[in-house]
């Protein structure tokens, strides 16, 4: 899977992509649109903002769940994904808005939630 998993990958929301160009990040979002190749997807974060991600492996057509992407931010503020996982929602739906609230908190208090 490469070196990217050995370094800190800050969790960010869509509005912070521009500040992380070229850097490894972790992004969580719900799949809104899947390109026919299955590899380009548009994710929405907890604030409803869209992000385009180029996946390492194609997603199946009908997938509409939440995925967590590890990758690097491109110059166009999209994400080149190195790996991703699906969040299970078989027992309970994932509250993406709550996750965005949590992101605000960890960004406001980096001394209590350090990346690296």
């Amino acid at each position: 899977m490469g070196d990217i998993h050995e370094v800190p990958r800050p969790r960010i929301a869509a509005e912070q992509l521009a500040q992380h160009i070229g850097r490894p990040v972790c992004f969580v979002g719900r799949v809104m649109k899947i390109h026919s190749s299955g590899k380009i997807v548009v994710l929405t974060d907890g604030l409803g903002r869209h992000t385009t991600v180029e996946l390492s492996e194609p997603l199946e057509e009908e997938f509409s769940g939440v995925i967590e992407v590890v990758g690097r931010v491109t110059n166009q503020a999209t994400i080149m994904c190195v790996s991703y996982v699906q969040f299970r929602e078989d027992k309970s739906p994932f509250d993406l808005e709550l996750y965005n609230e949590a992101l605000k908190i960890i960004h406001d208090f980096p001394e209590y939630y350090p990346f690296g």
């Binding site: 998993h5 370094v7 800190p8 990958r9 299970r88 027992k91 709550l98 960890i106 001394e111």
Partner: protein, 253 residues
């Protein structure tokens, strides 16, 4: 008096009681990030993150790697804050079935365990590894980390400099974290608050016994009460008097 230098004892020369306080302090389980654990400094037998002592911790992350050996399973758990952390789970070789099931890579888990350092490499010895069934628990864990470390660090700076030392019976103003209107009340669960309030309301010299607490708190089981008492004791809200079953509040008037 003879108690002034005692680190935690009340009523004893400080040996046995001091050790007991030490043990109950490290019975708190602190939610952490892997980055915090890697940055923790080792001081003798214990670890500190920004001066907050930690021993038992929880982390939430994704299993990147799982390797089964005869006596243990070695996982690498990744929470994105640093490189994945080694988590070792000892396997009961006599027991067949459930205990020895390996959690597959790609699964999000919550790990509870002890922090260890060997040849300068940190790892966790897990006593519990649970796959997350509800991913909202992962979000909750992030919030709990910020909350716990914020409260623990603030307790250190606002409390008196010798937290677990009670220099004499007469002075209650020197009580550890409980005095001075600092944060702790907000950090207590409902059960802990109920137990503390009952103990505070008692004015007899030997304090409230665990039996008294059980008799008055019908909704709480004996083990819940005991856990609350241990937590309150290690945080400095209460202290034991004639024996380990009797407690008084450091805030009592």
């Amino acid at each position: 008096g003879g108690y002034t230098q005692s680190p935690g004892g009340f009523g004893s020369p400080g040996g046995a009681q001091g050790e007991k306080k030490q043990r109950s302090r490290s019975q708190n389980i602190v939610p952490c990030t892997v980055s915090q654990l890697l940055a923790a400094e080792q001081v003798d037998e214990s670890f500190r993150i920004c001066d907050v002592e930690i021993s038992q911790v929880t982390i939430v992350g994704i299993v990147r790697h799982a390797e089964k050996a005869p006596t243990n399973i070695l996982y690498k758990v990744d929470d994105m804050t640093a490189a994945p952390m080694d988590v070792r789970q000892w396997v009961d070789t006599d027991e067949a079935g459930g205990e020895n099931v390996v959690v597959p890579p790609g699964t999000y888990v919550k790990v509870a365990g002890h922090l260890r350092s060997f040849q300068n490499k940190k790892s966790l010895v897990a006593f519990r590894i649970m796959p997350l069934e509800n991913m909202n628990e992962f979000t909750t864990h992030m919030l709990e980390i910020v909350n716990a470390h914020m409260i623990l660090r603030k307790n250190l700076t606002s409390a008196s400099k010798v937290p677990q030392s009670f220099s004499s019976t007469g002075i209650s103003g020197m009580g550890g974290y409980g005095g001075g209107g600092s944060l702790p009340v907000n950090g207590l669960t409902m059960h802990q608050s109920q137990v503390l309030n009952l103990i505070k309301s008692c004015h007899s010299p030997e304090g409230v016994s665990l039996q008294d607490l059980k008799a008055q708190l019908h909704s709480m089981s004996a083990s819940t009460i005991k856990q609350a008492v241990e937590f309150l004791s290690s945080e400095g809200h209460i202290y034991s008097t004639v024996d380990d079953d009797h407690y008084k509040s450091t805030d009592a008037d």
